[in-house]
C-alpha cells in the first residue's frame, strides 16, 4: 500500500543540518510525499471498498455462515465450492447468464455499429439524433423494466395485442424459457445500444478522412468503405466494447429481477428459474436463504469466470490482430 511506504528511511538518514530552515525541509517533504497523498484517495477507497470486501468474501466462502448470525461461522474448507459443482441451480443460472449475454450483446453491438455508421453521415439535426440514441441509457433500469414487463404481459400486454392481429396466439413471455430470455435481452439491448453507438461514433470520427477519400477514389462504395476502412479502424474500440459488455452481461441482475413485475421471490427468475442469472442466484442464496458462505462462493466463482472470459476475449482479439 502507498500509505505504508511513507515511512521512508531517507528521512532518518538525512540529519537536519542546522543551517537548513524549517521552510526548506517542508518543501523537501512536500516534494517527496505529496504525490503519494494525491494518489492515496484512490488506494484508500480501493482498500476499503474493493480489496477488503474481496478478501472478506473469500474468507466467508470457506465458512458456513448464516446471515442471521454473521458472527458465528464454522470452517468448511472448499465445501461451498465443491457443492457448486454438483448444484444444478448454479449451472442453470450459469447457462441462463451465458445465453442472455449472447442474446443481448451480439445484436446490441451490431446494431450500435450500424447506428454509429448512420450517425457519422452528415445529417440534419445531428445532435438531436445523438441525444435520442443515448436517452434509453439515461433511463433507470427499474423504470425501463417495469414498462417492458407490462408490454410483455400475457393477458393485457401490448406485444401480445399486436401479435394477435398477426394471428399469433398470446405468448406467456414470463413463463416461457426462451420467450422470457429474449424479452429480457430486448430490454438490455434497448438500454445499451445507444451507449455503444456513441463510443463507436467517437472512434469513427478519429479515422482519417483521407482513408475514405482514397477508398472512394479506388471505387469503393459505402458498404465497402464500411467493411474495409471503418471496421478495421474500429477494431480496438470493438474489443473494448466486447469486454465491457461481457462484464456487464455476466453481472445481469436488475432487468431479470424486475421482469416478473412483482410476486414472491423475484430473484428466483421465474417459477422454474428459467431466467435466473448468476447474480440473482447469489442474491437468493445470500439474502433469501441467508446462507452467506454459499453466496460468497458463488460471488468468487463469478469473479473467476469474468476474469476467464476477459482473458479469452483478449486472447482472441490479439490473435485476430496478429492474423491481419
Amino acid at each position: 500500500m502507498a500509505v505504508a511506504t511513507t515511512e521512508s528511511p531517507l528521512e532518518k538518514a538525512l540529519p537536519p543540518p542546522g543551517g537548513r530552515s524549517w521552510r526548506s525541509r517542508r518543501a523537501r517533504w512536500d516534494l517527496k510525499f505529496s504525490p503519494y497523498a494525491f494518489v492515496s484517495p484512490f488506494f484508500v477507497l480501493f482498500a476499503a471498498f474493493g480489496l477488503y470486501p474481496l478478501i472478506w468474501t473469500a474468507w466467508t466462502s470457506l465458512h458456513k455462515v448464516e446471515l442471521e448470525n454473521p458472527d458465528q461461522s464454522t470452517w468448511v474448507g472448499l465445501k461451498n465450492y465443491t457443492d457448486l459443482l454438483s448444484d444444478h441451480n448454479f449451472w442453470n443460472a450459469f447457462r441462463n447468464t451465458f445465453q442472455m449475454g449472447v442474446l443481448s450483446t451480439v445484436p446490441q453491438l451490431m446494431m450500435a455499429l450500424g447506428l454509429a455508421h448512420l450517425l457519422n453521415y452528415k445529417l440534419r439535426g445531428r445532435t438531436f439524433w445523438r441525444v435520442a440514441v443515448l436517452s434509453p441509457f439515461a433511463t433507470s433500469v427499474a423504470a425501463a423494466t417495469l414498462v417492458f414487463a407490462q408490454l410483455f404481459g400475457r393477458d393485457y400486454g401490448f406485444i401480445n395485442w399486436v401479435l394477435h392481429f398477426a394471428g399469433i396466439h398470446a405468448i406467456d413471455f414470463q413463463n416461457g424459457t426462451w420467450s422470457a430470455q429474449i424479452a429480457i435481452s430486448v430490454i438490455v439491448t434497448w438500454r445499451w445500444t445507444g451507449y455503444n453507438a456513441l463510443i463507436y461514433l467517437a472512434a469513427m470520427q478519429s479515422i482519417p478522412a483521407e482513408q475514405y477519400e482514397s477508398a472512394a477514389m479506388d471505387g469503393a462504395n459505402r458498404w465497402q468503405q464500411f467493411r474495409h476502412v471503418t471496421v478495421p479502424g474500429l477494431r480496438p474500440t470493438i474489443v473494448f466494447t466486447i469486454v465491457v459488455s461481457t462484464i456487464g452481461a455476466s453481472q445481469l441482475f436488475g432487468e431479470p429481477l424486475l421482469f416478473s413485475g412483482g410476486g414472491s421471490n423475484p430473484e428466483m427468475g421465474g417459477v422454474s428459474r428459467q431466467y435466473q442469472t448468476l447474480s440473482m442466484y447469489f442474491y437468493e442464496r445470500g439474502f433469501t436463504d441467508q446462507h452467506l458462505g454459499r453466496a460468497a462462493a458463488i460471488a468468487w466463482a463469478m469473479f473467476l469466470m469474468i476474469v476467464l472470459f476477459v482473458l479469452i476475449n483478449t486472447l482472441l482479439a490479439r490473435r485476430t490482430r496478429s492474423a491481419k
Binding site: 393477458d155 393485457y156 412483482g262 417459477v271 422454474s272
Partner: protein, 438 residues
C-alpha cells in the same frame, strides 16, 4: 402499488394537543402511561412502522385516531408491497442492527423464525406488560409468537380464517346458485369443489377460469391441518406429511384439468384479473376481502362469500414486533397494544375485512352480524367467525414462508409451463431442501 395513499399530515394532532391530554388519560392503563411521557418530556416522538402488503391501519384511520389521543406521537408508516422482499430486507437490517423501524410487521409464515432464531433481536413484550393481554387473543395466535422459554415476541393483528370468495355474476351466467348458503352447499369437500369447477368450465367462456391459481387452494388446504410443514419436534416434514400430499393432489386436479387462470398471486397480472373476471372463485382468507375490494373496485354486489370446503382453516394473519434497536420501545409498545386491542380489531374487521386475532373481539356480536354490500350482503362475519372458532392449532416452523412460496412456484410450473406434476413435486422438494439446509 397503484393504491392511492390519501392521508393528511399529522398537523391537526398538534393543534389540539393541550385539550387531548385529559382525554388520553381516560382510556386504558397503557395509554395513561404514555400520556405521562408527554407531560414528563413534552417531546415530539416519531414512531416508524415498517409493514408489507396492506395492513390497513392507515386506511382505517387508526393512526390519525391514535395521534389525536397522543399529541406527542407522530406515526410514519413505510410499507413494501411484497412480503418476501420485505422480510429479506428486515432480516438484513436485523443482522446489521441498523435501518430498523420502531415497529415491524411479521407475517405468520415467519413468526416461528422470529421465535427460534431472532428472539435476541426483538423486545420481549412481557417486559413491557404484555402478559396481561394473553386472554384477549386466540390461544393459537398467542402461542405462535411465544418462544419456548416464554418470551412474547409480537402481538397479533389479524387472523386468517378461510372462506371462498366467488363472482355472483359469473355464477349466474353459468347456471349456478348465487346466494351464499346455496353456494356453500355446492362444495362440502374439496372434491366437490373440483367437480363444480368442471361443471362451471363446461358452460363458461374459454377465457374464464374456475380459480386464479391452484396455489391459493393449496395454501388453504394446508391451512386446514394442524400438521403442516414441520412436526412438533421442529423437523421439516413437507415430503412425508399426508396433509401436504392431499393439498398437492387437489391442486394438481385443478391445474391439469384447466380450471385455473394460471396466474401468480400478488403480481400485477393477478391484480388486474380481479376486475376483468378471468376467474370465478378464490380461496379467500378474511384479509383477502379487503384486498379484493381495493383491487376490484367498483364491482359492488358482484362478489359473494361462501364457506370453505371442509369448513375451517387458517391462512395468514400478521404480527407486530418491536426490534431491540428501537429507541422508543415503551411508546412503540403502547401503540401496538392499542392497535391490537379488541376495539381496534373490531374496526379493522368492519372497515378492512381483517378478522380479529383477539377472541374477545371475535365474540362480540358486531362481528358475527357483519355483512358488506360489496359482497352482496353475504353473512361475512358469521362465515369467518365460524371458521375462526374451530381453526386447528397449527405447528409452525422457521421456514414456513419459504416452503409455501416454493410450492406456489411448483404449482405455476404445472399450470403455466406444462411441467409434469411428479417432476414439479420432486423439484419443489429439492428446492426446499436447498433452502432449509445450510
Amino acid at each position: 402499488m397503484l393504491r392511492a395513499r390519501k392521508r393528511s399530515a399529522a398537523a391537526i394532532a398538534l393543534l389540539v394537543s393541550g385539550a387531548m391530554l385529559a382525554s388520553g388519560c381516560s382510556s386504558s392503563k397503557s395509554s395513561s402511561s404514555s400520556t405521562k411521557t408527554t407531560t414528563d418530556s413534552g417531546q415530539q416522538i416519531t414512531l416508524k412502522v415498517g409493514l408489507f402488503g396492506t395492513f390497513g391501519f392507515k386506511e382505517a384511520g387508526l393512526y390519525d385516531q391514535y395521534m389525536k389521543l397522543h399529541p406527542n406521537i407522530k406515526i410514519v408508516e413505510d410499507s413494501v408491497e411484497d412480503e418476501g422482499q420485505y422480510y429479506t430486507s428486515l432480516q438484513t437490517h436485523l443482522s446489521a442492527g441498523s435501518g430498523l423501524d420502531d415497529i415491524q410487521g411479521i407475517e405468520v409464515g415467519r413468526i416461528a423464525d422470529v421465535d427460534q432464531n431472532l428472539s435476541s433481536k426483538f423486545v420481549d413484550l412481557n417486559s413491557l406488560g404484555a402478559a396481561s393481554l394473553k386472554s384477549n387473543f386466540y390461544p393459537a395466535k398467542w402461542s405462535a409468537a411465544t418462544t419456548s422459554d416464554g418470551k412474547v415476541m409480537a402481538l397479533g393483528t389479524d387472523y386468517g380464517p378461510l372462506a371462498i370468495c366467488y363472482r355472483t355474476d359469473l355464477f349466474k351466467a353459468a347456471g349456478l346458485p348465487t346466494d351464499s348458503a346455496g353456494v356453500s352447499a355446492l362444495w362440502p369437500d374439496w372434491n366437490s369443489y373440483v367437480q363444480t369447477g368442471l361443471k362451471y368450465k363446461a358452460k363458461a367462456p374459454a377465457n374464464q377460469a374456475w380459480t386464479d391459481t391452484a396455489g391459493g387452494t393449496f395454501n388453504a388446504i394446508v391451512g386446514q391441518s394442524a400438521n403442516q410443514y414441520y412436526d412438533s419436534s421442529g423437523k421439516e416434514i413437507a415430503d412425508t406429511n399426508p396433509a401436504v400430499q392431499n393439498a398437492w393432489n387437489i391442486a394438481m386436479q385443478l391445474s391439469t384439468q384447466g380450471l385455473t387462470a394460471k396466474l401468480s398471486q400478488f403480481t400485477p397480472a393477478w391484480n388486474q384479473a380481479f376486475t376483468t373476471g378471468s376467474f370465478a372463485t378464490i380461496a379467500c382468507p378474511a384479509w383477502m376481502t379487503g384486498y379484493i375490494k381495493s383491487e376490484a373496485g367498483a364491482m359492488t354486489g358482484d362478489w359473494g362469500v361462501a364457506k370453505i370446503p371442509g369448513g375451517t382453516g387458517d391462512w395468514g394473519g400478521s404480527y407486530l414486533a418491536i426490534p431491540k434497536a428501537s429507541k422508543h420501545q415503551k411508546e412503540a409498545y403502547d401503540l401496538i397494544n392499542w392497535l391490537t386491542n379488541p376495539d381496534q380489531q373490531k374496526t379493522m374487521f368492519t372497515s378492512q375485512g381483517h378478522f380479529p386475532s383477539s377472541q374477545t373481539a371475535a365474540q362480540d356480536p358486531s362481528i358475527a352480524s357483519h355483512t358488506d354490500p360489496y359482497f352482496g350482503d353475504s353473512p361475512l362475519g358469521q362465515i369467518y367467525a365460524a371458521s375462526a372458532a374451530t381453526i386447528p392449532q397449527a405447528v409452525l416452523g422457521a421456514k414456513d414462508g419459504t416452503i409455501k412460496d416454493t410450492f406456489s412456484k411448483a404449482i405455476t410450473r404445472v399450470e403455466a409451463q406444462g411441467q409434469a406434476p411428479q417432476a414439479s413435486w420432486t423439484k419443489a422438494l429439492s428446492d426446499i431442501k436447498a433452502a432449509t439446509s445450510g
